[in-house]
Each structure stands twice: as structure tokens, then as C-alpha cells.
């Protein structure tokens, strides 16, 4: 058995396998996890988060600036406390507002950040005070029907 020829083929096989793995890692997938070292966390409270899930993107002006790290229910205020992990490269003013948006009609939900005008910047573990809850379709339909009913009601 010619050892060198064999080694060559096995080497080729291993290289092909590693290239395939790299292709999967770089071209097909992307790491959504923002590493803890390059990020800071802020907490936003919402009355209703709709279908928001951990790891959902946080976008500002449509650009992904972070991810939802954690969602908890606060039993004292009966609100949802959503921890956002934001990339350190992006700083936001203190009065930035957060809203839960939906990409497309039936798409996934994400958090949209709207920068405010404050001169102070958000720091780690800060809280966002201006939040806008998710739009719940049932409430919307309910309001619409209520509005229609009032329109038609005799004075």
C-alpha cells in the first residue's frame, strides 16, 4: 500500500470537509449571539410583548443593533421586562423609545429603537422608559368594531 497516495486523499477529504463546514458557518449561517464583552444590556418594560421571543433582533432604522437577551414577567408591576443586548458600537440617547414591530404582515416580531434627543447616553443596565406595546390583532379588531358601532348609533 502506497502510504503517500493514501495520505494525500485523506488530506484532501479532510480539507473538503473543513471547507464545507466553513461554508456552512460563513455563507449559510451567522452568529446572532452578540458576545457579552462587546455589548451592553438595557431593560425595557412592555405592557404586552405579543409574540416576541428571546433572540429576536433589535433594530434601529432597520439595522440590527442587538438581540433580545431575556424576557421575564415582573410580578409586581404585571409587565414584561425585556432585556436587550445591544452592540457596544452603537450608543443611544437616554430617552430612546422602544416599540415592538412586526416585519411584514405575518413575519417575526422585533424591537424597534427610536433614538431620542437626550445628550446623555444609555449605559449598561439602564432602563428604557418610553415603550410601545405590540399590536394585538384581536384588540385592533375590537376597537374597529366598537368604533363602527358608535358611528352607526343613533344620537
Amino acid at each position: 500500500m502506497n502510504k503517500t497516495v493514501l495520505d494525500f486523499w485523506v488530506g484532501l477529504f479532510v480539507i473538503a470537509g473543513v471547507v464545507a463546514l466553513l461554508f456552512l458557518a460563513l455563507k449559510v449561517g451567522s452568529t446572532s449571539a452578540v458576545s457579552a464583552a462587546n455589548s451592553y444590556e438595557v431593560v425595557a418594560r412592555f405592557d404586552n410583548i405579543g409574540g416576541l421571543k428571546p433572540r429576536a433582533p433589535v433594530k434601529s432604522a432597520g439595522v440590527v443593533v442587538g438581540r433580545v437577551a431575556d424576557i421575564r414577567f415582573d410580578n409586581e408591576t404585571y409587565e414584561a421586562a425585556v432585556t436587550l443586548r445591544l452592540d457596544k458600537r452603537y450608543a443611544f440617547p437616554k430617552d430612546t423609545s422602544a416599540g415592538i414591530m412586526t416585519s411584514g404582515l405575518l413575519g417575526e416580531q422585533y424591537i424597534g429603537l427610536e433614538a431620542g434627543g437626550d445628550s446623555e447616553l444609555l449605559k449598561d443596565q439602564d432602563k428604557l422608559f418610553l415603550t410601545q406595546s405590540a399590536v394585538v390583532l384581536e384588540n385592533l379588531i375590537g376597537q374597529f368594531i366598537y368604533g363602527k358601532a358608535q358611528e352607526g348609533a343613533p344620537e
Binding site: 470537509g17 464545507a20 456552512l24 449561517g29 433572540r55
Partner: protein, 262 residues
């Protein structure tokens, strides 16, 4: 009559338990004697040629066709919802998470696992293993362990090649043939596929499958009755058992990995 059938059942049960115990001891012995497989890495490389390199053709061709079929079928379904651009996501996720590791493992079991069993079974039948023992060469260290590690190393590489090839096949059919937008195909795929959650879990799956297949194949060969019929039966059993074990393990692993995603 009744007594006989009960005796038979008991005998079978005891045999089964005995085999499982022997298999566990065998697996431990392989792990303990793995030193040789790494110290004389040439042995492992030689086995990687037979299990890995020679499986390449079937893995690559099947990967390509599976990806192409996914492209066609996925397009048909997604088209009804007007979201053809999600084709890349569908092809990539189903390949990376499930089809890549599982189908590659099934092919590997029938292509390489059966060969390992037949080879070791024949070595035993022709008393080559006993001859090695006579020469104070441990057959587990010299014959079994290199094959084990070769299989464990080859399997994730083959699964990755299968997935990559499948995604290429899906790209060929989806983008080149049907005309899904190329940019949307890749960018949506990239957005939806997560490196840790999807790709790394797929790799972990294939490593586990590699361990399971090679252990079963080696054990069946080592345990085969030293006759022509015994070896042929052991080879069949390798393919059947490892296929079932792959599917069962896949369910267990998937339940562990993707339960937390909600």
C-alpha cells in the same frame, strides 16, 4: 410446549442482556485502547481512507439530489404562500438540522458500517485476531480502535459535505432553474440559520451518530460467529441496528436541542 416457549423467551432475554453488557465493555475497551490509534496515526488515516474518502461519492451525489428535490418541493409549497424567497431558509435549515446528519449517517452506516463489520467478522473467522493475540498484539488497539476513530472523525466531515452539497443543489434548482431571486435566497438563509443553534447542533448530532455507527459495526463484527453465515448475518444486523439507532438518537437529540427554542 408452554415450558419450552418460556424457556426460549428467557434464553433470548438473557442473551440480549449479555450482549448489551458485552457491547458496553467492548466500547470501554475501545476507548481505553485508543492510544495506539493516535500514536500510530497512520493506521487511523488508512481507515479514514476506506470509511471516509470512499464514501465521498455516494454522500456528495445523494446530497446534491436531496438538495435539488428540496428545492423543487419547497418551491411548490412556498409558492402557494407567495414567499418563494424563503426557499433558501427551508433548504438550509432542513439540511443543516436534520437531513444532513441523518441521511449522511444512514448512508455511512450502509456504506462503511457494513464494510467494517464484514472485514472484522472475516478477520475473526480466519483467526487473524487470534493470531494477533498470539503475537501479543492487542487486536482492539491495533484493529478496532483506529477504525473507531476514523469513523468518528469522518462522520461530521461527511455530514457537512452532504449539507453543503445539498444547499448547492437547492441553489441550482431554486435560483438557476426556477429563478428565485439569488440575493434573497442567500440573505434570508443567512438571517435564519444560526451558527450555534443550527450548524453546531448538526455537527454534534453527526459526531454522536458517528460514535454509534462505528461502535455497532465494530461490535457486530467482533461478536459475529466465525462462519460465512454468521458474518453475513452480522453485516445485515449492523445496517438494521445502526439505522434504527440513528433515527432514535436523532429524536432524542432533537428533543434536547430544539426544545428551548419555543
Amino acid at each position: 410446549m408452554l415450558r419450552q416457549s418460556i424457556e426460549k423467551l428467557g434464553h433470548r432475554t438473557i442473551q440480549g442482556v449479555w450482549r448489551i453488557g458485552f457491547a458496553a465493555r467492548f466500547f470501554l475497551a475501545v476507548l481505553l485502547h485508543s492510544g495506539t490509534a493516535f500514536r500510530r496515526f497512520g493506521l487511523t488515516i488508512r481507515e479514514m481512507y476506506f470509511t471516509g474518502v470512499l464514501s465521498l461519492i455516494i454522500i456528495l451525489v445523494s446530497g446534491l439530489f436531496v438538495g435539488m428535490v428540496l428545492g423543487l418541493q419547497g418551491y411548490e409549497t412556498l409558492q402557494t404562500y407567495g414567499s418563494e424567497e424563503a426557499l433558501g431558509v427551508l433548504v438550509a435549515l432542513s439540511l443543516v438540522r436534520e437531513l444532513g446528519p441523518v441521511v449522511a449517517a444512514l448512508l455511512f452506516a450502509s456504506r462503511a458500517g457494513s464494510a467494517i463489520t464484514a472485514e472484522i467478522g472475516l478477520m475473526k473467522a480466519t483467526e487473524q485476531l487470534s493470531a494477533m493475540e498470539m503475537m501479543a498484539v492487542d487486536p482492539i488497539a491495533r484493529v478496532v480502535a483506529p477504525r473507531f476513530w476514523a469513523g468518528v472523525i469522518s462522520m461530521p466531515l461527511l455530514a457537512a459535505l452532504f449539507s453543503a452539497m445539498g444547499i448547492f443543489g437547492g441553489y441550482l434548482v431554486g435560483v438557476q432553474l426556477i429563478g428565485v431571486d439569488e440575493g434573497a435566497f442567500w440573505s434570508q438563509m443567512k438571517n435564519a440559520v444560526d451558527f450555534e443553534q443550527d450548524i453546531l447542533n448538526g455537527v454534534i448530532k453527526s459526531v454522536v451518530f458517528g460514535i454509534a455507527i462505528t461502535t455497532i459495526a465494530l461490535f457486530e463484527g467482533y461478536d459475529a460467529p466465525p462462519t460465512a453465515e454468521g458474518v453475513s448475518r452480522a453485516t445485515t444486523r449492523t445496517v438494521v441496528t445502526s439505522s434504527l439507532v440513528i433515527l432514535a438518537l436523532d429524536f432524542v437529540l432533537t428533543a434536547f436541542m430544539f426544545r428551548g427554542l419555543s
